[in-house]
């Protein structure tokens, strides 16, 4: 089973993501900001990270920049999942090392196809 770390300061978004990822047979972990997510990754790297952009303490962009410098930090496939929907923001995320980008609102089909394209869905 693949693991996915959900990083979002909204309880509702985390709950929705947890439910969808559960249906897709992921084991999920959660963090409410980038700093907590870094601690979680330091303990063990997940296969995927669903990452919000705007969060208190540490933003998604700050998190991914630090993650990609960590030992083993290139392993997780990182999918931004944010209300930021400007093409400039998407480019910024890709430059920082993101693998995919989801613009909220999203649904299970969007998450499913994106994970599938990253090779994270077991056939």
């Amino acid at each position: 089973m693949k693991t996915c770390l959900i990083v979002d300061d909204s309880t509702v978004v985390r709950m929705v993501a947890r439910r969808i990822l559960g249906e897709l047979k992921f084991v999920t972990r959660e963090a409410v900001n980038g700093a907590e997510a870094l601690e979680s990754c330091a303990r063990s790297m997940p296969d995927a990270i669903l990452l919000d952009w705007n969060m208190p303490v540490m933003t998604g962009i700050e998190f991914i920049e630090m993650l990609r410098c960590m030992s083993g930090g290139n392993v997780p496939r990182v999918l931004f999942c944010t209300t930021e929907n400007e093409v400039g923001r998407i480019r910024q995320a890709l430059d920082a090392g993101a693998d995919e980008y989801i613009m909220k609102p999203f649904d299970s089909e969007i998450l499913h196809t994106k994970l599938d394209q990253l090779g994270l869905i077991d056939a």
Partner: protein, 297 residues
């Protein structure tokens, strides 16, 4: 609820025009799709709609058929066929068409254009390899509305997230508020036109590759066979046909055969040899027949 007579009447009309088979268990679909059509035409409900259809209101008939046949689509639907196209079909075509340097691809029942544009993006990704090639992708759909949408190439934020890798979104779309429009270079690669798959397909010309996915599932056996037989005539001997995951030619027509080892891809079957006539098999013939043959010579 729609009464059975009206259901049968509308189902037959939709079938005659589009080949779509509506069974009574699909009456919910008919209701959900046609109540808005009835409203648009100032009719109270499905009974009135059926009445107006019987009176042969041309625009209403077109709207009804269209409402029943349009389906949602996504970019790079099912992923695998596009991989097969890129890794297997395209390299072979680039080799065999190297002197002609031209390639024609048909996206049949193209809906709002996602399949045709996905193919255009794949070809664009090939870069310099295709420089100087004359490439035409033809997208056809029964629905005027869908053809217009496909031609415009404008998609919602939801639509561009269905199946489209974000790298391709950034590369091949221009953002306009919460809409995304496909690059003019890609729009120029695809010609869209209104076309009914049940009509004579010869005006479309011939293609090297045909994508006809998730269309046949809506047809009955006879219609499937007819469409496949016509489709075979649009392909050269080395052309290929892609069908949807739940579709096959097996048991429907012998004009196509599966491409060995490749799920979902079919090639035109070589002409079947005529049944061996006795004249060609003298060794298997009883003596008197031989004698009779000799006598006729």
């Amino acid at each position: 609820m729609i009464n059975p007579d009206d259901f049968d009447f509308i189902a037959k009309l939709v079938y005659d025009r589009s080949g779509l088979v509506l069974t009574p268990d699909k009456s919910y679909l008919l209701e959900s799709r046609l109540v808005p059509v009835a409203r648009k035409h100032g009719l109270k409900g499905l009974t009135e709609l059926a009445g107006a259809l019987r009176a042969r209101s041309v625009q209403l008939i077109a709207d009804t058929v269209e409402a029943m046949t349009t389906n949602e689509s996504l970019f790079f639907r099912d992923t695998k066929p596009f991989e097969q196209f890129r890794k297997l079909v395209l390299p072979r075509l680039l080799e065999t068409r190297t002197s002609k340097r031209s390639l024609r691809i048909w996206s049949a029942a193209c809906s709002s254009g996602q399949e045709a544009y996905s193919l255009a993006m794949l070809l664009m990704e090939e870069g310099p390899k295709l420089a100087g090639w004359n490439i035409e992708i033809v997208g056809t759909d029964l629905s005027t509305q869908m053809v217009e949408r496909a031609r415009a190439g404008v998609y919602s934020q939801f639509e561009v997230q269905r199946g489209l890798p974000v790298q391709m979104l950034v590369k091949y779309f221009r953002q306009d508020g919460d809409k995304w429009q496909i690059d003019p270079r890609l729009r120029a690669m695809v010609k869209y036109r209104e076309f009914n798959l049940l009509s004579d397909l010869s005006p479309l010309g011939t293609f090297d590759v045909i994508f006809c996915r998730n269309v046949l599932i809506y047809f009955d056996q006879a219609t499937k066979a007819r469409v496949l037989e016509q489709t075979a005539r649009r392909l050269p001997p080395d052309g290929v046909l892609f069908l949807g995951g739940a579709e096959t030619v097996l048991g429907v027509t012998d004009r196509f055969e599966p491409l060995p080892g490749e799920r979902g891809i079919y090639r035109v079957a070589p002409p079947t040899p005529p049944l061996p006539s006795p004249a060609l098999m003298p060794l298997a013939m009883p003596m008197p027949a031989m004698a009779a043959m000799g006598g006729r010579r």
